[in-house]
């Protein structure tokens, strides 16, 4: 800022007196006696001994004192002009949306650091999935491009600017327009009304444009089937909460299928403590090849081969309707056959209260599923076609046609929005060959990924946390996306780029979204734009769900199903599936997700080929042997074997989403790409094929967070059958008989104020792991990388223990079973000990339990007594504290922790170049929660019960001069949990949710017998098993 004003220091200056002029020439107003000191006499003065010593003493002292403290350099810039709404230390929350789900974004000093569910979201949006939790990290990803890039002759993609790019793209578009050739916008499913409008505007400006939507994990089969059966080309809204009986054929509906988190909330509402206490529990049958997370939660899980899926559905249809369609024979699989008969019987008993879902993407199969659902009256109750799910609209056939168009040289320009076909299409070669023939190739990716690196221009898009936008997850359900930070890099929102290139009248996307809402959505709802920004989500009353009856002939679909099935009867049947952490591979560079253990196998940082124990034995493979997997098309990859109990014999499973080559430094070359195993038949992508396996003689240990898989009959897991529960709610919990009297060495802790405790419902937890990521983000937990996980050093404060047990039915297994906790039967007969499991002939009938395990905040904590320096102590509100600064790192506390939940910083993980997974740079460190210190090497850490949240909750109540309300403080894990499996609160308040939960007959404490008095109660796992199936 320039100013012509001149300030004078006194009248002398103003008047410019000669004295002033003279003095002003000198640096000092008075002359300094320098000459006196420097002259001969000055230099030759004698320094007395005392003076010398004084000077020496002072000098030494001063230097020593100065050296005592290395002053750390903090680079911080204070606000020059403080934004009104930002108060340092106080978080701001903004509503936004992630994948169509309305969320809250917590920002601190202008940077988003945490994703939380939006309490206004309604429906079954109770929590958030792991991907939403981890998504903040993507904002701070250093592997992203910082500026738009453009192909520059032979130099490849070089730094560019928006003006240059706009000029280039518009010129190329005009050329394309002039040539009359096709322009294509390729994206994954778009549900945003504004984005759709932008694309429509773009299409209006360039009429040869077509929007091709495809999803790497496709739901085209369901959409086409519904179009065929009921004339509605949609993915329906499923209501698992209305289903008393759920039958799933390979659909991982609690995990990756369509909307796992929402379905989890629905599903659990019929199985949690509330439902159980009303004597109600749904029953869930799962027929599948690979062990999915959903399969681990099923009451009865029947392994079937992929080739048996079609015949099983036909058999089920026949059994329900009494029809006599050919091919419904499951000759060899006696158990499946028996199970299907039972399922059919129960489906008929539960008409209108049951649902059958199938994970297949085959149109014919889905038509048959529609027929079954129609026969059992699912439409209008458990399946709602009138308020469909808008999140998936991909069309595999259109995309296949697009590849053909490119190869025929008909495409002049292509834009890739939120899609990466060079990585995730089955026939990547056809795609890349075709792409080379396209004139203008523009990607909106934020990095040079597999596809964008083949493009002419990467017009880098904002991260969603920097974007404006909207989403439309369901019919009539709209949510807003609003930016929570200024764009960090020189990126521009894709929609804005498209608006500019189509020379639209409104080029600013914020204005565009707002106009769009004000014009189309808000008038219907009678709300204002400001309301939208505050609540984030609007839903019009759902339309009444109509009942639909399937009336078509199945004559055409049955042969197709059977021929698909027959094609799989060869070699080894391979299922490729969406991984719970990586999903379709889009999140591959997210270190939090890479280190999130798979809910079933507990493997991190890798994919693998899952084989059943007996089958692997038959093939001669041991766990971690690297085998070469080869399909008919000649694609082959080498993957380590994982022995997966419950995997159907004769089948193998490989997760998709791995093997990225250009994802970024965390995600590159993690695992192998299984997309080429996907095949395209009858207009849809198929995720089943057949492969041959060959030994390579190599071995590679997978990085698992859990390597022992059975609970050895220990009472840490307590479970009961639903039948036993109905007879006695305390069945299996150990609460129905007298307990030992205990004696304490220690005095009881006084807890005058609060007593923070937790209750975890094992029947609600599905094992998804979103709590793990939520905890990582909230508590700055470092990601340690594959090698460290392999050394069993992952840092997760909360983990989910997954135990397999093997059900034995009938006579003669009494001794092997663990069913006799106490004198009372829990109605469960299973083998849980490693040594007995090794002798089992049939390992197919596996039961799984997921147990979230975190610091139990014991009242008589064994860790507290052994710490030599009192670094871990008990608080007056029932918490076990850990003072990082005091810890000297003897690890005695961790050794003495019976739950093994303490985590040691073996290295300086968050700031050590050898563990450069993500956090070793100042930019990514912006993701850290400023309320939680990062821990240095040599320090123990563990769950703090989000003490920062407790403190801020207490503080807020104090400021408002009121007592704390129950449920006001939520743990990060609890908040993320869609199933509400975790309840936290004050045990001193008898009316708190948690106190009520802990009073349940089902509640038990893990290892209560060693009298450490844990603060976390667990509720028994209840299984609504039918004992006749596997008999």
């Amino acid at each position: 800022m320039e100013s012509n004003k001149k300030y004078w220091k006194g009248l002398e200056e103003y008047k410019n007196t000669p004295d002033f002029v003279e003095n002003n020439k000198n640096e000092f107003a008075e002359s300094l006696p320098i000459e006196d000191v420097l002259n001969e006499a000055g230099l030759s003065t004698v320094t007395p001994r005392r003076d010398f010593l004084k000077a020496l003493g002072f000098g030494l002292g001063a230097v020593t004192l100065a050296a005592c403290q290395t002053a750390p350099i903090h680079k911080s810039i204070p606000y020059l002009v403080k934004p009104e709404e930002v108060v340092p230390g106080i978080p701001n929350y903004y509503v936004s949306s992630f994948n169509g789900q309305s969320i809250l974004v917590k920002t601190r000093e202008g940077r988003p650091i945490k994703i939380e569910p939006n309490p206004n979201a309604g429906g079954f949006f109770n929590g958030t999935d792991a991907q939403a939790q981890a998504s903040v990290l993507d904002l701070y990803d250093v592997s992203k491009l910082q500026f738009p890039v453009k192909k520059d002759g032979s130099n490849g993609l070089t730094k560019s600017n928006w003006a240059e790019i706009d000029k280039f793209v518009q010129a190329e578009l005009s050329k394309a327009q002039a040539s009359g050739k096709k322009i294509r916008i390729v994206s994954s499913s778009v549900n945003s009304p504004s984005t759709k409008a932008v694309i429509a505007d773009f299409t209006a400006a360039y009429p040869t444009t077509k929007h091709v939507q495809y999803d790497a994990i496709s739901y085209t089969g369901i959409i086409k089937a519904n179009e065929n059966s009921f004339g509605k080309a949609v993915v329906p809204k499923y209501n698992f909460d209305k289903a008393d009986l759920i039958v799933s054929f390979g659909a991982d509906f609690l995990g990756t299928w369509i909307s796992g988190e929402e379905f989890t909330a629905q599903y659990v509402s019929n199985r949690n403590q509330k439902s159980l206490s009303q004597g109600k529990m749904s029953r869930h049958f799962q027929f599948e090849a690979g062990m999915s997370m959903t399969g681990t939660n099923a009451d009865t899980r029947v392994p079937i081969k992929l080739s048996e899926e079609g015949p099983a559905l036909i058999a089920l249809y026949n059994a329900i309707t009494g029809a006599n369609l050919a091919g419904g024979i499951l000759g060899n699989n006696v158990i499946a056959d028996k199970a299907l008969k039972l399922v059919a019987k129960e489906l008929l008993q539960n008409k209108g209260k049951s649902v059958v879902v199938c994970g297949s993407n085959d149109v014919s199969t889905q038509i048959l599923v529609n027929a079954i659902n129609s026969a059992i009256g699912s439409y209008g109750t458990t399946i709602d076609l009138d308020n469909p799910n808008k999140r998936y609209a991909g069309n595999d056939a259109e995309f296949a046609e697009f590849i053909n168009e490119m190869n025929r040289g008909e495409v002049a320009a292509v834009f890739f929005l939120d899609s990466n076909p060079a990585y995730d299409v089955a026939n990547a070669k056809a795609f890349t060959d075709g792409l080379a023939k396209v004139g203008l190739k523009v990607s909106f990716s934020d990095r040079q990924d597999e596809t964008s690196s083949l493009c002419d221009v990467i017009a880098i898009n904002h991260n969603y946390l920097e974007s404006w936008g909207d989403a439309n997850a369901y019919e009539g359900y709209y949510s807003i996306v609003q930016p929570t930070i200024n764009p960090v890099f020189n990126s521009r929102q894709a929609e804005e780029s498209l608006l500019i290139w189509s020379n639209a009248p409104v080029k600013e996307y914020y204005q565009y979204v707002r106009n769009n809402w004000e014009a189309t959505i808000l008038p219907v709802l009678g709300k204002t734009w400001k309301d939208v920004l505050q609540t984030g989500v609007f839903a019009s009353a759902p339309k009444p769900a109509g009942t639909y009856a399937f009336s078509l002939s199945l004559a055409a679909v049955i042969p197709s199903i059977l021929s698909n099935s027959k094609a799989l009867v060869k070699d080894i049947e391979l299922e490729v599936y969406e991984s719970t952490g990586m999903r379709n591979g889009k999140y591959a560079n997210n270190a939090f997700l890479q280190e999130l253990p798979d809910p079933v196998s507990k493997v991190t940082w890798d994919n693998y080929i899952a084989l059943a124990p007996k089958f692997a034995e038959k093939l001669g493979f041991k766990e971690f042997d690297i085998v070469s997997v080869k399909d008919d098309k000649g694609y082959s990859i080498e993957l380590p074997v994982l022995i997966q109990p419950g995997q159907a014999q004769g089948t193998a499973s490989i997760a998709l989403g791995y093997g990225r080559t250009k994802a970024g430094k965390a995600g590159n070359d993690v695992g192998r790409n299984a997309y080429p195993f996907v095949s395209f038949t009858n207009g849809t992508s198929k995720y089943a094929t057949t492969v041959k396996l060959e030994a390579t003689g190599k071995r590679d240990e997978l990085a698992q967070t859990q390597t022992h898989h059975s609970f050895e009959g220990r009472s840490i897991i307590r479970e009961a059958s639903f039948t036993a529960y109905k007879k006695n709610p305390a069945a299996g919990s150990g609460n129905d008989h007298a307990k030992h009297k205990t004696y304490d060495l220690w005095d009881k802790y006084e807890k005058p104020g609060n007593n923070w405790v937790m209750a975890i419902d094992l029947n609600a937890c599905t094992g998804c792991g979103s709590c793990i990521v939520a905890c990582n983000v909230e508590n700055n937990i470092p990601v340690v990388g594959k090698d460290e996980v392999r050394r069993r050093r992952e840092m997760h404060w909360i983990r989910i223990d997954r135990y397999y047990s093997f059900n034995v039915e009938g006579e003669g297994h009494g001794e092997a079973a663990h069913g006799e906790h106490g004198a009372h039967s829990n109605g469960i007969n299973s083998v849980t000990k490693e040594k007995e499991i090794a002798h089992l002939d049939n390992m197919d009938n596996v039961s799984v339990v997921h147990q979230p395990m975190l610091c139990q905040h014991c009242d008589h904590a064994p860790c507290e007594t052994v710490c030599p320096v009192l670094a871990t102590t008990h608080s007056s509100d029932g918490l076990n504290h850990m003072a990082y600064n005091r810890c000297v790192g003897t690890r005695y506390c961790a050794n003495n922790c019976p739950y093994k939940v303490r985590r040691f910083n073996w290295f300086n993980y968050w700031n050590d170049s050898r563990f450069d997974n993500y956090l070793n740079n100042e930019f990514t460190q912006l993701v850290l929660n400023p309320d939680v210190t990062t821990r240095s090497r040599g320090v123990m850490e563990k769950c703090t019960m989000c003490i920062q949240r407790i403190q801020s909750g207490k503080l807020q109540a104090k400021i408002e001069k009121r007592p704390l309300k129950d449920g006001e403080i939520k743990m990060a894990c609890q908040q993320a949990c869609s199933a509400n499996a975790i309840i936290f609160g004050d045990g001193n308040d008898p009316n708190s949710e948690v106190s009520k939960a802990l009073r349940s007959e089902r509640t038990y404490y893990v290892l209560e017998e060693i009298n450490v008095q844990p603060g976390i109660g667990y509720m028994t796992k209840i299984r609504n098993t039918d004992t006749t199936v596997h008999a």
Partner: protein, 490 residues
């Protein structure tokens, strides 16, 4: 002690004829007053390489972090605390020999106490290095001391066995050092008196003005007895407290009331084995066969067989109690020890500690130097495995099966351990060069009463019972340092 003649039934404690006070001095000071021989140099260079490896491995650990060891979330202690307990255990024989045997008037200790005490001190130093180096933040190791400080009002946790440990080890170290040094005073004075020049000045300073007059000797005796009185409870307390690191925990396999006596017995067991390992070589190389005789070796072997059997009984008792307790965790811990993934370590321990020392019941074996030396090493291998078994196999599979894990050492783990052995031998070899390896003054006490020549004189005087003499002469057969010709004449 020295006034009377010892019974002829007792075997001689000093062998060889024509032993004079002066010869004793010269014999013992031979390595101190002369240039080292080739054997010493070879030993020293190897040991020094080991010590350098230790410096490197520990520096590497300090620089990069404890993660360079093979520990994990489940097994938080492994080779570090195994090494720590092993060294503390080895350090036990010194005090037992110097204090307990002094109080019980076991004169035979006079020949071995000096080296045993030196060994104790060096072993405790090795143990102490583990205490510091196993910490995540070793630069804060002083926080375990109850020092007044300005970190608020922070104090140590007196409930923590690690604090007790710190007190126990530091007390043990200081008392052992004091005891050892007090014993050294007359001997340092002897060296001083025979030395010239700079050496004389140095030894003069370290002899604290020892004058050798009667009053000094009297005080010396008194102080020795007092220190012996103070040290004796330490023999029991140190390893008792070390065992409480485990016994007070909740981990199955650690939480065992039998630990204190079992650890003390084990410590004495390993300490005597280490004394044998060292002295069998030293007596040969330094020519001290006349002072460290077969009687000493056999006596120590007897202690080994006793303590080894106590340890064996303890192992079996643990198993019985695990079964008897009815606690599934306890039972599993012990079944897992003997049949789990670390079964080989358990059986290594059983073989080395319980089975092989039983060979010492045979007189042939316990008086055979080569066999004794090998067994002494086997015992210490066994004792290392005992600690490994207790620490690692208990931790690696405790209560919650999801966290069960294996421990695999890294090169750093191995280097720190091998390096600590190098450090120990470096210190011991330096000790042999600068200080008398046998307590000169104390051995001299035995010359007139309990030496072979004194007894021979008695025999020659001819007032002794013939049968007793025959028995005495018979007992000399096993001595490799007795010339049988003298007795053939009788």
């Amino acid at each position: 002690m020295s006034g009377h003649k010892e019974s002829i039934l007792r075997e001689p404690l000093i062998t060889g004829q024509n032993i004079t006070y002066s010869k004793i001095t010269s014999d013992i000071l031979l390595p101190v007053e002369n240039k080292p021989n080739r054997a010493w140099w070879i030993g020293f260079i190897i040991a020094l390489c080991g010590a350098m490896l230790w410096v490197f491995a520990v520096s590497y650990t300090f620089w990069f972090g404890i993660g360079s060891w093979g520990l994990n979330k489940t097994v938080g202690w492994a080779w570090d605390i195994t090494g720590f307990v092993w060294w503390v255990g080895i350090g036990h024989a010194g005090t037992l020999i110097s204090a307990v045997l002094l109080l019980f008037r076991q004169n035979w200790r006079n020949s071995i106490n000096r080296s045993a005490e030196a060994m104790t001190i060096f072993a405790v130093i090795c143990a102490a290095t583990y205490v510091v180096s196993h910490m995540g933040r070793p630069w804060l190791a002083y926080w375990v001391l109850p020092l007044p400080n300005q970190f608020g009002s922070l104090w140590v946790n007196f409930n923590s066995p690690l604090v007790w440990d710190m007190f126990a080890i530091s007390t043990y170290f200081s008392v052992s050092l004091l005891f050892w040094y007090t014993g050294l005073l007359p001997d340092i004075a002897t060296i001083r008196d025979r030395a010239t020049g700079l050496r004389r000045r140095i030894y003069s300073i370290f002899s604290f003005g020892w004058s050798g007059n009667v009053k000094t000797w009297q005080r010396f005796e008194a102080v020795s007895l007092i220190l012996a009185g103070i040290s004796t409870p330490l023999v029991l307390s140190v390893h008792t407290i070390v065992s409480m690191d485990f016994a007070t925990s909740v981990i199955p396999g650690w939480h065992t009331t039998i630990f204190p006596p079992y650890f003390v017995a084990g410590a004495i067991f390993s300490g005597f084995a280490m004394v044998l390992t060292l002295l069998l070589v030293a007596r040969k190389v330094l020519g001290l066969e006349n002072y460290i005789t077969m009687f000493h070796i056999e006596s120590m072997n007897k202690i080994i067989i006793l303590t080894g059997s106590i340890v064996g009984v303890a192992y079996l008792t643990e198993f019985f109690i695990a079964w008897y307790s009815g606690s599934e965790y306890e039972q599993y811990a012990f079944i897992n020890r003997s049949t789990g993934p670390y079964w080989w370590a358990y059986w290594m321990m059983m073989t080395c500690n319980v089975i092989s020392p039983q060979l010492l019941w045979f007189k042939k074996i316990r008086t055979n130097i080569a066999a004794t030396w090998i067994l002494s090493i086997v015992v210490n291998i066994g004792m290392w495995f005992e600690r490994f078994v207790i620490i690692v196999t208990s931790l690696h599979r405790d209560y919650i099966p999801s966290s069960w894990a294996m421990f695999y050492p890294t090169w750093v783990d191995v280097s720190v351990f091998i390096g600590s052995i190098g450090l120990f031998f470096t210190l011991f070899l330096l000790f042999l060069r600068v200080l008398p390896s046998i307590a000169i003054a104390e051995v001299k006490l035995l010359l007139k009463s309990a030496s072979e020549q004194a007894k021979l004189e008695q025999i020659k005087e001819g007032h002794l019972d013939k049968e007793q003499v025959a028995e005495y002469i018979g007992s000399l057969d096993k001595f490799d340092s007795v010339k049988q010709e003298e007795y053939a004449k009788i």
